[in-house]
Assembly symmetry: D2
Homo-oligomer: 298 residues x 4
């Protein structure tokens, strides 16, 4: 049975590790927050005093961290964790980070004979808890087969986007597009309501017409149109506006690195920045409906 | 059997009239273009020398014209067609026009005891020919039941959006949202390709993820990703960029009339204006992919 | 001595009429608001019971109304004021309205032998009171010479922009550009302050560098940087955000009529719509600084 | 007399070094391009075989490099040039780079007792040749006095923006605002011309009205309106669109680092990206007029 090192036990990493433990795997875990470690230990993990200790002797290393700088610092910084990982081990780096950073870690891993996949997820904390995450993977196809048993304990869908870093690129593109159709949906609903339409009737029409998109299908941003979504509980829970702002920032960085034009993506990023500057960054990202409507929704 | 007057036999009106004739209805038709009238006559319609003559004695009046000013001029201008229509007749105004104009005609119709629905369509010339259009209707619900037999000869889906003008509002909102997710999709694909991804792989991932939308599902804008769409035949056919520019113009007018904010809608309108200014207005609207990519696609 | 009819005695028209009275002209005035008429009468004007009465026998007709529909209704509507004006009279239409509406009135005036100029102003209520307005004129150059004595009592600068409607076009272009550099200035100051700069130091640098513009020179939007401007008195007074929203709406209409692309103009219009939707439409337009900064400024 | 090390002799650095040589200073120079070094040697400089050799024993070190990564690599990379510079020396880092990178070098310099100023310039190659550059400086005020004699040989205006990195922040803010009013001016002129105005007449009106800005005053983007500017010679020469795209990229990075909203700045960046993607990156940045006008200008 594989020996797994798991680093980063936050809102996402915690439940992901829990699902691996439930499946019977042996986990050595590390996080800077003691209570996060204790929660995993309570489920059967053993606690490592630091990251190097966690990965020593591990067959599989999984990390889930907040941002590019944490990943770069963990693997390539002072401690140079990459040197403590066994050649031949498999690294699944699940954080959502800049493709360039992912490629830096890939290069260092490859030089040491470590098999790595960048493996950002979508599905949020609910998907992490339910083990229904989507993994978007970058790296060699052969590594994917080796990773599949572990990933399938934490998620439901696996997509192979391409070579090193491609998982990050695909996730960034997807989330930029999500932000755009969410704001677009919010604008269309606001325009319709301002011109006398019922938001539910309009949503029903657009959902099955050429305006159709995931926001209308699964995550309607207008309060009261759809049950069980953040819009119908004061925009609490879900995927925070500040996290969307972060992902749009990664999209803008990727656009700059490749000189690509992203007009709507740029406006989307800045609308989330305005929303965050108003103090709404912790609300679900569909609360952008309220920015568009002039903060008049309850 | 009803006696139908049909005014406006262009790319949309022509095949719509043909489907009514095929269903056995009696049509008196008028258009300023003689060849359009001749085509309808060849299918069994009788030609009226002018619009007043066409509607005289008709139970049902159907009109399909290019823009607001044509509709206002037809019904309320010099000839005041509305006065030539029988009280008790049913008017189906199928043009895509400003909600305010539609409401003007509604008011005049109601004052004379005429039952009117604004009934803009989606589905394009192919839907018009196949009789699979979607009608988005504004006006009294009772009128809708009366109109159903006629509409069902020309279309497949009927949506009741609300009161007078609501059909236009819903169509405008839907098409603004369509433009936004089409451009958003074009930006995401361009960003992905610029960062090394395969456009088909990226499309497949986003289509079934939270980026999913009608453009990815039915109308992929990147050449070669999807068979049978305009992007795979040089952006010929389909729904012209200039028509989308016109619909976005209607959305901007509606936004101004109601002081609604449409940030992405505004950028979308202006990108189609840039595209049109470059001489690409006759291409399918998914050719906006080429604007985003720097005119580098074949 | 000329006999002047003055119609529209609001915040702008009132002080403009007062300056003509001060210069010794005979004025017959009309406004729907009795107190506005009384104020002019107290300065020596005679009150007309309606607009037709006011213009009957006048050599010069001056109008200053809120928007296109008021001007169209006044001159071309039910009462058809244009028919009550003497052939040979001079009409100075000072409202800020759509160029297309101005051209409609020009055409009707010309048909009757009336000399007309569209003559929108800039300079705000302070300029109206001080007689230092700028007039931007559209119409025949010869009319301008005839109008000069009257305009110089109300304003300081006269620009001849071109033929009928050109005054409105130039005003609309100018105000769109004003909105753009005001928001641009607000974004630059906010970005600088967010990165540790002093807003006054940054303003001083940009003002004399290539970032220089009228907003930095005369109307700094950051509270406390410049004395005597709205930003330094809670954004009270000045040129209201809702008025700028109206002018940007006219710019968008002109852009649509000519299929011109106005990317920044479109975003500017929508940011003022967001600001107005938040209830800040009565504040000076430089309060857009607060929208950009996340409503954190005092 | 001071001994100056000058690193980076490109289009800007070359003429800057020439002006110091003309003023009688002793320069030891380094550049990766031999012909650039030879040109400086022909004017009296001595050539150093590498950067470390150039700075050894120098009282003043001046660098002028293309981008952040070059500056970071030069001072803090493998060679760690900062360790080869004398404690007590003065470093004038004139490149336009990310404020964060500038601060990294400041910190390393300070730790070694080196006096540093970030000193980005504006004025272009013409200003560099004429010795009329503007320097925008970040760092301790005392260092500025020490630097003044050298800076005044290369430039005309010195602005002290604030502490370490503040020169870069102010330059970035200024150039973002410049891009915004240039595009705004281009949009206003295009809108006016599309509605029948003469671009020169409209420029003259807006220049002295509230639309006034540096682009109208010094650098009109419409061909033929102003003599001696890039617009009147096919947009050749001047400040390249790709350089503006780079500076807007730095602005976007700074906005992301501070979560600031820059709606117009974001659209400006993306319009320059579109322009560059069409192959126009080498033209002067005022050629954005052509993008706005649909590439129809000669």
């Amino acid at each position: 049975m594989s020996h797994i090192a798991f680093i980063g036990l936050g809102h996402m990493g915690g439940p992901m590790a829990a699902n691996l433990l439930k499946a019977g795997y042996t986990l050595k875990v590390f996080d800077l927050v003691p209570s996060a470690v204790e929660a995993a230990v309570a489920l059967g993990a053993s606690a490592a005093p630091n990251a190097v200790h966690a990965v020593t002797g591990a067959d599989v290393v999984i990390s889930m961290l907040p941002a590019s700088q944490h990943v770069e610092s963990l693997y390539l910084g002072e401690g140079r964790l990459i040197h403590a990982i066994n050649p031949g081990a498999l690294v699944l780096e699940c954080s959502t980070i800049a493709p360039a950073t992912a490629r830096l870690v890939h290069t260092a891993a490859k030089a040491r004979g470590i098999a790595m996949l960048d493996a950002p997820v979508s599905g949020g904390t609910a998907g992490a808890a339910a083990g229904t995450l989507t993994f978007i993977l970058g790296g060699e196809a052969g590594h994917l087969e080796r990773a599949r048993p572990f990933l399938e304990k934490m998620g439901k869908n696996l997509f192979h986007a391409g070579d090193a870093g491609a998982g990050q690129v695909a996730k960034i593109c997807n989330n930029m597009l999500l932000a755009i159709h969410m704001i677009g949906t919010a604008e269309a609903l606001n325009l319709g309501v301002a011109n006398g339409l019922d938001p539910k009737v309009l949503s029903d029409i657009m959902r099955v017409s050429s305006g159709g998109n995931w926001s209308l299908e699964k995550y309607n941003p207008w309060p009261g149109v759809m049950d069980g979504v953040p819009a119908s509980r004061g925009y609490e829970g879900g995927f925070g506006a500040d996290l969307m702002l972060k992902d749009l920032g990664l999209a803008m960085e990727a656009a700059q690195a490749s000189k690509a034009a992203t007009l709507l993506g740029g406006v989307a990023r800045n609308l989330y920045a305005l929303h965050s500057a108003r103090g709404h960054g912790k609300l679900d990202f569909s609360s952008i409906q309220n920015l568009v409507a002039g903060e008049k929704l309850s």
